[in-house]
């Protein structure tokens, strides 16, 4: 089974990987709010945030180029809205939209790439995110692999008979039904081992002094960047 790269990245070892999921989630939330609400001086804040996130990626021993490339997945979506702003003559607004979306995606990507999913979900749960929402996220994430694997099998089977596998409606219907059957089997196997709706984690969440220091430092740096650049410009 092919696994997504993010899952492999999240299992590496670094100072960022060692931090508690809650500390990283809160620090990311502060950064997202800072980026999202910035307006005056954003032209200076954007490169500063970009440099900060790049430095964090390198310090976390994540491949910077690949991370930047993966964060670009949001660009097609935000560019649609940016194009609407451009057509309306709002060039700065369009630029803000694209740069804010990209920086936000990069920040979230670093969080996911440095935190194994069970720990991230447990952290979000202890921060008060509804359990049902987390369950749905957990299963979507798990079954993405299943669907991807089924699609790969179908593509190989089609290629083996000299055909090209296209995402036509018929193929999608078959893919859906096969994935559904596979998902049923996985769910059954989970129930057989006592699954009662909550993915257990081995490492109990421990919020240490180093996590508190990381959170305080990250928030202070983010706010200092924002306020400092706003005053300077």
């Amino acid at each position: 089974m092919h696994h997504v790269v993010l899952e492999q990245w999240s299992r590496r070892r670094s100072f960022l990987h060692a931090r508690d999921a809650r500390a990283k989630t809160l620090a990311t939330a502060v950064l997202l709010i800072t980026i999202g609400t910035a307006d005056r001086g954003f032209e200076a804040l954007a490169p500063a945030c970009f440099a900060l996130l790049g430095a964090v990626a390198l310090a976390a021993r994540l491949p910077l180029g690949a991370a930047l490339q993966r964060a670009a997945v949001v660009l097609p979506f935000c560019m649609v809205f940016a194009a609407v702003s451009l057509l309306g003559g709002e060039t700065r607004r369009a630029a803000l939209l694209v740069s804010k979306s990209y920086l936000s995606a990069l920040a979230v990507l670093l969080l996911v790439a440095s935190t194994p999913l069970p720990q991230l979900l447990r952290g979000l749960e202890s921060l008060g995110v509804p359990r049902f929402l987390l369950m749905v996220t957990q299963f979507v994430y798990r079954y993405l692999f299943v669907i991807s694997e089924q699609a790969q099998h179908m593509r190989m089977a089609a290629a083996g008979r000299g055909a090209r596998f296209r995402a036509a409606a018929g193929a999608l219907a078959v893919l859906f039904s096969r994935s559904y059957a596979r998902a049923e089997s996985i769910h059954r196997a989970m129930l057989a081992r006592g699954f009662a709706g909550r993915l257990p984690t081995l490492a109990p969440p421990a919020f240490r002094a180093s996590d508190a220091a990381f959170l305080a430092g990250a928030c202070a740096l983010t706010l200092a960047l924002r306020l400092g650049l706003e005053r300077w410009l």
């Binding site: 089974m1 299992r11 089997s185 196997a189 057989a192 257990p200 109990p204």
Partner: protein
């Protein structure tokens, strides 16, 4: 002797109207290893899924004196460990160790205890060195071993193995046979593999159209239902061999 499993007059029909079980009576005693033979669709897998409440039919199913019904599911699922046909269905956690710990953690064990059990189970199946590996990096035989470890970590009294030799090459089958032969639990083995069953099972039953059509030793069942495939040598093959 009190049976570990006692099934009486079990009937089951799937939502699409397919009648899978038509009155099955069955007993499994401590220390027994029973092979379940039968054609595809004869009801073998449907039957074993009733033993820990994954399917609920009409009739009576008791495991270790507990009726298999919703209030007892947690206890019953600890006693009956099912190793599924496709190990990829069973292994979904990021590492083998986390996957094997999944069951004990669901039983409510503390993480340290669950880890201890998981390590012990991995050692028992000879896969301790793969504890930190992602399951998708393992061979089919190794995945099967880790899947079995995931069940052993729950310390069940009954092991149910659904087509355990599927996807395994001959060395993998041999290794699995040695592993299962050394496990003390009572076993139910759903299989088409007569040689594998003969080496492991003390008794065999034959499913046909949702009923148990025969019962005896593996040799008797294989003989009576002609449940063995002997490939005849093709003339072309004979020529090339010469």
């Amino acid at each position: 002797m009190t049976p570990l499993v006692e099934v009486r007059d079990l009937h089951f029909t799937y939502d699409d109207g397919t009648v899978a079980l038509r009155g099955v009576d069955f007993r499994l005693h401590p220390g027994e290893s029973v092979a379940l033979f039968g054609a595809n669709g004869s009801g073998k897998t449907t039957f074993v899924l009733h033993l820990n409440g994954l399917l609920e039919g009409r009739g009576s199913v008791e495991v270790c004196g507990l009726r298999v019904e919703k209030p007892n599911f947690a206890a019953v699922r600890q006693k009956v460990g099912i190793v599924f046909q496709d190990s990829d269905d069973q292994l979904f956690m990021p590492t083998a160790l986390e996957d094997v710990s999944f069951g004990p953690l669901n039983l409510g064990l503390e993480p340290a205890q669950a880890l201890e059990r998981a390590r012990r189970a991995l050692e028992q199946v000879g896969m301790l060195e793969a504890a930190g590996k992602a399951p998708y990096h393992l061979s089919a035989g190794e995945k099967k071993r880790v899947a079995i470890a995931g069940i052993l970590a729950m310390e069940p009294e009954i092991l149910v193995l659904d087509e355990p030799t599927t996807f395994l090459d001959p060395p993998g089958r041999r290794a699995l046979l040695e592993l299962l032969g050394g496990l003390a639990q009572a076993k139910l083995i759903v299989t088409h593999d007569a040689a594998f069953a003969a080496a492991l099972a003390t008794r065999a039953v034959f499913f046909d159209k949702g009923r148990i059509a025969g019962e005896g030793t593996v040799a008797e069942i294989v003989e009576h239902f002609r449940w063995e495939y002997h490939a005849s040598r093709h003339p072309a093959g004979q020529r090339s061999a010469g």
